[in-house]
Symmetry: C2
Subunit: 491 residues, 2 copies
């Protein structure tokens, strides 16, 4: 499969629409086909949610959006597609028939991913002329935010198809889990169904309500599951004795009848009970409101995990760095005229105000990070701080001259205005790389301190020499505009 | 049960030690009894982890720690305890015997909580003289961070015992789930065991490895489970059609054989396989390192959910507000001498630098929030901003005069130095309420703008009048120290 520029979505429900959004937000053109006369309205609603969530998650690191069109037929949707994602209802006969239709109309080089949550690809591909082109790509709701996609080939799926679908899913920010052995329900849905079946029994037998069961998950194990899964969690629960000890200890309880063996019958009565409890749990909060809350929690959780460079946070971070190429710059290096390059980043979602502008305190955060870069360069970095000495900022003067928006790249360039035995005077300029304009400046006075004694002391020779070296390297420059200012009300 | 001041921990393993930490960090004295000669070392290690995590989560909102002692016998541990938490190994006969011993030695008013993860309280209390005093309080690892505790009484447990144990668990920041019907495994562990059993089958049958199974959870459903549980998740998956539609659609698949019916036999071979895969998954990262990573992720996730005031985040927020009473202050009110009270908060974990001091940018965040409070008071709050007009900060001058540490309360008091048709000049002082000292000041010049046109325009009359009113109310005051300053290197 060549570079993917066009994707067709066949089946435009909750899953198909969210796939469309993920592809569009990664700059890929999308054609959607679905028999539902309301497909356009519903799809655009999902895309609007996805755009809001992905913009908070990744900001302007995302490329320009692809073009969206609604196709009148399957043949029209797929005839120029590089990749087709099928998200029809979970009926084997329906999927077999439509997959054969797609196969008949798609270009020679195209590949098909099926969103099935549990049907076997060997069966799905049985009526196709080119069965080697079908692979399962099973996503999770909301598809535009959750990273997981299970990739599973059938007997006739080619290795090339698996590789190219995996590469595409990775490109759009997903975490590919290659299911190496074909099995009903793959891996994730077998685990989910185990929980779901037991949960329905607990309601069926009157032990607990829907709301109580959700609480049993979300205030306990669910918090761990969001980044560690089951085995790593139990490894830690085993403590110093480790996994083997834990398993031996757990052995006997595997024989205890703690779960029901088969699912309860979904009688009309049970369906009524569960629905009524679900209504009560949701208590007047609408679907759209809950979706927005869900997406907001997911974005904030992924940002939280990104701070730990772990699990879904590590995937999001690597994806964004891949999009922006931000990882390549060496902070602390010279950036012309003797200035120090002390910051280079794209504007993160958490730095944004209600207007989607870089917010007031975030300027000082970026300038402060720039100060740390300069301090590291003169030998007063983290190791020096750990030794009990440091520079403290005692005074700051900021001017705001322009704006930066979510995802725009900004750079901080730093001038060392002066130094003496205890003091260091810095002047930062923040440049919006989209326009080249200086959008803010900050002048700082720092004092060298003995942190334990909490008093100022002269800096050691090697730091004093490094400070003087930077001052000397920039001495030929005219004083920057905007230093030595006071704040006063005119006339 | 009267106010709880002393708690005894009987059984000091991973669970017991973490209970000890939770009680201590809430200012309650704790006596620990365990036969393990290393109990003191192990307990103190867990408490150190808990202190680090809870301090990041709640900072100095926590009260002074309680006193810890290690008791030489059960009788010594429990004789002056108001509450006893039993965390022995999961053997019914052992627990029955020790619970009877505890009962015989404890004060008249005391209550016992058992940490059992699945044994029935009716059986556990059968050998006790005062069986009404026993209730199950089943926590989740790490007990010092996860909020969930399942509370379940046996046939002889009194309502008063259930109420007083629930009140105590709530007081120490936990979310009580009252299990109203006694059942093996209660609610949460039945769900966990369903997942665990299926996960062991997947390894036993060679379908997937421990690492792949964990990925199937943590990159997908696990992210949702951390705040929504199962039923609310599926309600949203049902889309506009809702829960009843979802259940009808799901009906057929309940009959599909997607999960094994009973657990696999834990043969030596399976134990070897799982342990080896777990070792490979952990790949050279030690237990303590993983525990620290787990705790860091949990704290950041709870802070993320706190931003959404939802699930575990809502519990953490309500708990901290209860400890500090921070919710009672009315921002924007006068605080003497005509100054505006524009900030009142305790220093949050995310505002802290490596020295546990309030970090540089956080000062500007608190001052900026103070500016918003003053703007709301003069009629330029969020509604006004939504109408397309706003005040932008164009210049800022900050002086750093002192420090604030994690959890200390700080207040921002604001003087309005001047105003004209387009401008507003503010002077904030931040006071550390622990010392009463001014630790920083900020002088700001703001300009009234038409946000769409991106240019300054005169403020409307009602805002101009409000600004002049504040200036006039403070006109009798001497000019505050530290205004109109420039940053310059002396001599």
């Amino acid at each position: 499969m060549a570079e993917v520029n066009k994707v067709a979505i066949v089946g435009g429900g909750v899953i198909g629409a969210a796939w469309a959004a993920r592809f569009l937000l990664n700059g890929i053109d999308v054609a959607v086909f679905d028999l539902d006369p309301e497909v356009e309205r519903k799809t655009r609603e999902v895309i609007a949610n996805a755009r809001r969530a992905q913009t908070r998650l990744h900001g302007a690191a995302l490329p320009p959006e692809g073009q969206l069109r609604f196709a009148p037929s399957i043949a029209d949707a797929v005839e120029d597609a590089d990749f087709i994602q099928e998200s029809l209802p979970e009926r084997e006969d329906l999927k077999q028939r439509v997959l054969a239709d797609i196969d008949a109309a798609m270009p020679d080089h195209a590949v098909i991913g099926s969103s099935t949550s549990g049907l076997l690809p060997t069966k799905l591909q049985s009526a196709m002329n080119r069965p080697d082109r079908l692979v399962v790509g099973h996503p999770f709701n909301p598809v535009y935010l959750l990273p997981l996609v299970e990739v599973c080939g059938g007997d006739q799926t080619s290795d090339e198809t698996i590789a190219s679908a995996s590469a595409l899913y990775t490109r759009i920010g997903m975490k590919v889990l290659h299911v190496r052995h074909e099995i009903d329900g793959f891996i994730a849905d077998r685990l989910l169904e185990a929980v779901w079946r037991e949960a329905l029994w607990l309601i069926n037998d009157g032990i607990a309500t829907a709301s109580e069961i959700d609480d049993a998950i979300r205030f306990g194990a669910g918090l761990r599951w969001s980044f560690m899964g089951t085995f790593l969690t139990y490894r830690l629960a085993g403590g110093e004795a480790g996994m083997k000890h834990f398993l031996h200890q757990f052995g006997p309880s595997m024989e205890w009848p703690w779960t029901k063996l088969i699912g309860p019958k979904l009688t009309d009565e049970l369906i009524e009970t569960v629905s009524a409890q679900s209504d009560e749990q949701a208590a007047g909060i609408g679907l759209r409101e809950y979706e927005a809350l869900r997406d907001s929690c997911l974005v904030d959780i992924m940002h939280a995990l990104e701070r730990n460079d772990f699990a879904a946070g590590a995937v999001a971070k690597a994806y964004r760095e891949g999009l922006t190429g931000m990882a390549a710059v060496t902070l602390g290096s010279d950036c012309g005229d003797g200035l120090v390059l002390s910051g280079h980043t794209s504007v993160s979602p958490e730095w944004i105000d209600y207007n989607e502008h870089l917010t007031e305190w975030a300027y000082l955060k970026l300038f402060g990070d720039g100060t740390d870069v300069v301090l590291a360069r003169i030998g007063a970095g983290p190791d020096y701080v750990a030794s009990g000495f440091s520079f403290y900022t005692v005074e700051t003067h900021i001017r705001h001259l322009g704006q930066a928006r979510l995802g725009e790249k900004v750079e901080v360039r730093t001038r060392v205005l002066g130094s003496d035995s205890k003091r260091l005077q810095l002047f930062h300029a923040m440049i919006n790389l989209a326009s080249g304009a200086v959008i803010a400046t900050a002048e700082h006075m720092l004092v060298h301190v003995d942190a334990k004694a909490e008093k100022s002391v002269p800096a050691p020779d090697h730091i004093a020499t490094a400070m003087q070296g930077l001052v000397a390297a920039q001495q030929h420059l005219a004083p920057p505009e905007g230093t030595g200012r006071t704040i006063t009300m005119p006339g």
